[in-house]
Symmetry: C2
Subunit: 219 residues, 2 copies
Amino acid sequence: MANLGPGRPRLEQRRRQGTTPRAEILDAAAELFTTKGYANTSTRAVADAVGIRQASLYHHFAAKDDILDALLAETVAGPVELAQRMMGEPEDAATQLYALALFDVRQLRTARWNLGALYLLPELRTERFVAFRRRRDELRAHYERLTVESAAAAGAGEDARILPFRLVETVIAIRYDEGAAGVDTERVIPDAVLRIVGYQGGMGAVRAAAAELLARLSE
Amino acid sequence: MANLGPGRPRLEQRRRQGTTPRAEILDAAAELFTTKGYANTSTRAVADAVGIRQASLYHHFAAKDDILDALLAETVAGPVELAQRMMGEPEDAATQLYALALFDVRQLRTARWNLGALYLLPELRTERFVAFRRRRDELRAHYERLTVESAAAAGAGEDARILPFRLVETVIAIRYDEGAAGVDTERVIPDAVLRIVGYQGGMGAVRAAAAELLARLSE
């Protein structure tokens, strides 16, 4: 209410998450894209939901697909950064794979909006989203590298190479179908990832080692 | 071309899969929904793609969501029927779970259009699609029942109860991202399903038993 400033007052009081107009736009768009659909949402509707004029929105994002691109980037930035940082750490591949899966399940599960539900939109196949697709491919490559190393250490084959990345992303469908993915998915899915790669060690030990690794890297 | 009959001729020659107008409409709609997006596709566009008038389309489907509902129903009808038929068979739960996963991966993988990519649309949350959602829940319940029984037989807990159904549906994302899901997914995914439930037996034996079960039931 202290924020009227010059120009037209906002249509609604601020009710958005985010401390900047840009963050508020992203939050409103994420809600509309995931609840009404991307194609069904106009930039006008996003501006209305934030309580700003469309012209103000265009000051931050030139087009609707720029908003989507920014939202999608958030869904992979954290796990990609973690995977990169882990490469210098001494923990074995199974521990790192567990830690990555746990971190990624958690962020997909607890993000305010279930943006992964947009991954299968035909719109994402266009040239506009090539940077996002490459970034997600990068994350996928980290999963595959850790999967192959974990399987080799367990004396198993590489058959399941592509599956841990896919299994982690099932959190998106669980959230969609059940309204939420329970905190137990942060244990159940990483456990299943290790079973798929043929991990034979004790699950309690790897859970503890992965938690410690994540705590150390988040310091 | 023998099919002009009375009224306006078709806009295009028949190029659709399907031997009936209804099947042609479904095929055209499936292509447009998965490549252009559901919200971006009008019934007019579907009629144009089939080469019929919009009025003719309405003779088969009263609205666009009726077409989507019919398409979605096809994606679960086969595995639900299989799961029901298996209930009277003597094979153990692990074999039946393997057979269901194999059958379902195969049908999701080889269906002409990747319709599962529409499962996460916000439109599907509406009352209109409650029958489809119930049918898919039915399939999910079959997976969970077989998962719990398989885990119990293996002396494992029920932690992974929800995951086999989810893992099978990852074929949809694989198809989306890679353009196709290879035939190897028909082995790799069911294998991973059994590993998740703690199955300790030989994978070769269960593969053979599942294949025999499927062959017997498809006679």
